[in-house]
């Protein structure tokens, strides 16, 4: 394995971890897979582009704006669309369709921004990358993105863990996820905890999206393409376990990049475009043999039976 490939893999896995964690969090609260999640990230891919090329500021600033912009995009979906539908006792299928509808609106906004940037301001907005920032700036002799992305992912995962386990609000949030009516009975504002979890979910996606163009070539459909990897990561980890999302995100991210790299070295570069087949295969295998994901398997029982 070459060093650049390993670097790419770790950066991509870090970004994917942020994305899959958010997806799992909202799935746990509202019990609906959010099909717009990929484009929460894509919105911020373009915001980072605006920051770097239009405002000429270091695009790492996008991480901060990304958190709030992604969070706001996500909160809007929950408050304006999903909450009213939940109040009307809509089925999860209706909620899924609503997230797809919101996704279409995001696709539209992203493309309008991209068209506007390229037509009015002559900024390349399709198939662009900002590697000159991610790789041009070095920290400790390493490309900065290789330091920032894993560090940020680890930091976010740890702070989310502390938030859910050590703060009063986080514990209330877990209670609301486990049993909404019981939580409501003891005075927890379930609606507020759900809204916060949607905001965090979108914020994480926003940070992931803000970092993405520093590492890979992005396009208006990047969010849509990423969605397969995000879902695969969440499902492989287990859609009902937040720690599964950390695990799944990192595993799928590594498997996707290293697997494609390994196959490309052995069989030639024609395999590279088929990269999404790797997460899909892992997802299909998980659904067939362990539908509750890696964290849903009762490992202790499995080993006891084995011995």
């Amino acid at each position: 394995m070459s060093i650049p490939l390993l670097r790419d893999a770790i950066v991509f896995a870090s970004i994917l971890t942020m994305l899959s964690t958010g997806l799992t969090l909202t799935y746990m609260t509202t019990k609906v897979p959010n099909f717009a999640h990929g484009n929460f990230a894509a919105i911020n891919i373009y915001f980072t582009l605006i920051i770097a090329k239009f405002l000429n500021i270091n695009p790492y600033v996008g991480v901060i704006t990304g958190f709030f912009l992604g969070g706001a995009t996500s909160l809007l979906l929950y408050l304006l669309i999903l909450k009213p539908l939940l109040d009307r006792e809509a089925s999860y299928i209706i909620l899924m369709i609503a997230t797809i509808a919101y996704d279409m609106m995001l696709i539209s906004v992203i493309n309008i921004i991209a068209d506007y940037l390229s037509r009015v301001h002559k900024i390349t907005s399709r198939l662009f990358q900002l590697r000159e920032w991610g790789y041009g700036i070095e920290i400790f002799g390493q490309p900065s993105i290789f330091i920032v992305a894993p560090l940020l992912a680890a930091l976010l995962v740890i702070s989310l863990y502390l938030f859910l386990n050590k703060t009063k609000f986080g514990i209330a949030m877990r209670a609301a996820i486990d049993n909404p009516s019981l939580a409501e009975a003891i005075g927890i504002n379930v609606n507020l905890t759900y809204a916060v979890s949607w905001f965090i979910s979108g914020g994480l996606a926003g940070i992931g999206g803000a970092l993405a163009p520093l590492q890979m070539t992005c396009n208006t459909d990047t969010g849509t393409r990423l969605l397969i990897s995000i879902f695969a990561a969440s499902i492989v980890g287990g859609l009902t376990n937040i720690y599964g999302a950390f695990l799944g995100g990192f595993l799928i991210g590594l498997a996707e990049v290293l697997g494609t790299g390994y196959l490309a070295i052995n069989f030639g570069s024609w395999v590279v475009p088929y990269r999404p087949i790797i997460p899909l295969t892992l997802m299909a295998l998980t659904l067939l043999f362990a539908p509750r994901g890696l964290t849903g398997i009762n490992w202790a029982k499995l080993f006891r039976r084995g011995s």
Binding site: L85, A90, M96, I97, M105, S108, V109, F231, A284, P291
Partner: protein, 357 residues
Amino acid sequence: MELSVIYIFLTNLAILIGLFAIISLSLNLEYGYAGIPNFGKLLAVAGGAYFVGALSGRALAIAYGQPAGLGYIERNIEVVGFLNGVLSSSPLHSIVFLIMSIVGAAFFGGLLGYVSSYPAIRLRGDYLAITLLAMGEILWVIGDNWQPLIGGSMGVRIPDPFRWVGGQYRPLAILLTVLITAAIVFIYLEYLGRAPLGRVLKAIRENELSAGVHGKDVVRLRTKTLIVGFAIAAISGALNSLWTVSVSPKDFERVRHTFMPWVMVMIGGAGNNLGAVIGAMIFVTLRELIVFYKHFFEAIVPFDVIWLEYLFLGLALIIVLMYRPEGLLPEKPTKTLSAKKLKAIASRVEPAKEKAT
């Protein structure tokens, strides 16, 4: 505006309405009747088109001793030109080619439905939706990159089975074929909906557990529904490519072939076949009008107007979900036999009972 422009616009519009009506009818069977969230409509439609591009054209090439391997792609224009020459002089061969393409695409679509739904068919619907959506994207990746299949992103030309009717009548011949197919699909699905199978599917949709308790094999019925739904949608894809006489991966995308049919079914009225058709009529007409008048808007706004359509579609769908979830034409109660027939049956049964007691 010239008369010929209107004529072309209207025939194109009617063909598109027919094609999308077939897709939304198939989605109505899957979602409206059986409650399966099939987010992989793209998979079925593109599957049907890819079948025509990759296999039925090649079958014809073999029959006439033309290169059918990689040569079919590399010398595509030459080969298809020769085949068109053959087809244009022989209506019989053209019709056989047309029917074989449609039937083959339906079978291929059904197979695709079975294979792609297999990993998640036993789980809750959202897993199935995710899997089918992902499979659709994967099919696009394969079609766009694997040259030998349908020529990669360049696409491939296919022989034209409507050439023999003559240039000016060609659109009408296609329109007739599409409308007849759509009518057959509509009648078949209406029949299916009124048959016991339709009622079983609705029972599964309403309560999977109780349907299972009453001895219905839920997984098997769901698989069957998906196979039929995929087959029907694949027919639409096949007809689409036979109309444009080319298959290209970029013609089939998620928004157009997964999302639009969902909008049509939800707004037309899920569980109502007529609603699905009306939904198709409304949205295809709107879309074609936007495309037709695109250049007027283009001068005003600094972006492609087509994106406004996405925004509008998403918004329309959300509004319908919130304020009129049953759609324009709500689902009707299940049709039963008429009172007269029921009485007739009762009178036949009653004497038998009396005799027995």
